[in-house]
């Protein structure tokens, strides 16, 4: 064993921690090396001094202070933790979020309401335009050379809730002057719906004087009897006197006269 090795193992040697083989080797070296002997002696002396020093024990006052301090610190800690907990639920932020959500919803609702009313207005406008368009189209179509189209135009008036004077006049025009019986018949039917209108009544009375088609005569008599138009009596009387009037029309006129009188 060499000197530097011995040096490292002095403390374990002195405390008896080395195994026997190392102890023997250590003793052999110590027997031959004065320097190491001295070192071992010195270390032993130092250890003895260490053992002599008593462990320091804190006084009761220090101990009490410490516990007090600890308690204080503990309570302080709890308080801070509590404060932290309240801080963890962010009321302010929640209010902010709630407010922004509320504003968003309100904005959406307002927007859709605005848009809704705007849409309603637009739809109403479009409807009006469509009616106007239909009316214009109908008026234009009434002059179509195709009879079927003219009848279609007359039928369109059924879709117009409150036709203006122009439409009524166009229909009355058809009733008096259209060359085709079927168009005149359709006009009678369309006009029959405006039983309150004086113009329409006048037109029917005029038609009764001029019309020669039995179908139309019967439809016109029916209308005038339904609305209790006393002015129709004279033209009906004329129909009865007329030799060209078919008998079945005369029957109708007779019935009508009886009802009106």
């Amino acid at each position: 064993m060499k000197c530097n090795e011995v040096e490292n193992k002095i403390i374990p040697f002195l405390e008896g921690d080395l195994d026997t083989q190392q102890e023997i080797a250590m003793k052999e070296h110590l027997a031959s090396c004065e320097q190491c002997q001295r070192q071992v002696a010195e270390t032993q002396q130092m250890l003895e001094v260490f053992n002599e020093v008593e462990d320091a024990v804190p006084s009761d006052r220090v101990r009490g202070n410490f516990i007090e301090f600890l308690e204080e610190e503990k309570s302080l800690q709890r308080y801070t933790i509590g404060r932290k907990e309240t801080k963890e639920f962010p009321w302010k932020m929640a209010f902010q979020i709630a407010a922004s959500v509320l504003i968003l919803i309100a904005g959406y609702a307002w927007g859709s309401f605005q848009k809704g009313s705007e849409n309603d207005a637009q739809i109403a406008e479009l409807r009006l335009e469509a009616t106007q368009l239909k009316q214009d189209m109908m008026l234009a179509m009434l002059d179509n050379r195709s009879v079927s189209k003219r009848i279609q135009a007359v039928n369109y008036t059924e879709d117009i809730a409150a036709p203006d004077e122009e439409v009524l006049e166009a229909l009355i025009d058809r009733l008096h002057f259209d060359g085709n019986v079927n168009v005149r018949l359709a006009a009678v039917e369309a006009l029959s719906r405006y039983s309150e209108n004086e113009k329409v009544k006048d037109a029917f009375i005029k038609s009764l004087t001029n019309e020669t088609n039995p179908n139309i005569q019967i439809a016109v008599i029916q209308f005038l009897v339904d609305v209790q138009e006393k002015r129709a009596l004279a033209p009906m009387q004329k129909l009865l006197e007329h030799t060209e009037t078919p008998n079945f029309v005369k029957d109708r006129a007779n019935e009508g006269i009886i009802t009106l009188m």
């Binding site: 050379r145 195709s146 009879v147 079927s148 189209k149 009848i151 279609q152 039928n155 085709n180 019986v181 079927n182 168009v183 018949l185 359709a186 088609n213 039995p214 179908n215 019967i218 029916q222 078919p246 079945f248 029309v249 109708r252």
Partner: protein, 262 residues
Amino acid sequence: MKRISICIIALLLSCVAWGQKEYKTSLSGVNRVVLETNTTVDVEIGSSGELILRDGKKRDSGYSDGNEKEDERAKGLTALYAGGVDNTGFGMATERDGSTLRLKDLKPFTQRSRFTLILPKNIDLTLDCGNLGSANIANFTAELEIETNVGHIKLMDVTGPITANTSTGAIDVTFTSVNQSAPISISSSTGTIDVSLPTNTKADVEMRTSMGTVYSNFDLVPEREDGLKIVGANRKIKGQLNGGGVDIRLISSVGNIYLRKK
């Protein structure tokens, strides 16, 4: 061989000469023909783009039932008519009015009892058969406007739009399908109206008769919720076929109305 062919051509020519009178005219640019006559007209669909008028009715052996015979004395002279100038050689005045071709029969009923009109499929027709003429039309798909006084109106395998009116004649119409573009209106004062429609026709039907009866095998009068029968008010029958569609109006004062499933 040459002789034979010459003979055949001569024979054909002579046939045309003493056979039936015929008038042909091109219909390019025309979409409507208006024909006024006093006699019965048979309208047929032709394959050429021309309007053809032929005397008499088509029979198995050519056109027969001819009308006025050739007058030997009239050779070199032209027939004069009070109603207008015969510019067709057929006793008819023709006039072009925009896209409309007007034909007016100048001969009275006594001289022409019936003739045939051949038209392409897509030409609208307005036909006025005057006091005594009838109208027979088949396979027509364009628009039809027919008017007669006493004569019947017979429309076979048509599609509409149709406007037909007669005072005392009967009206028979058979539809192959119903054109939805424009209304169909059929009226007769004293005659019957008999209409056959395909079962799947979509239409708004209105039938009115003052003294006649309406017969149909379509379900047009819906049953009332309380199970009571509807008592005919105003004698107007109104209903929808297959959910509704084009307007079909059948009106008769005295005659019955028959609406059948085809």
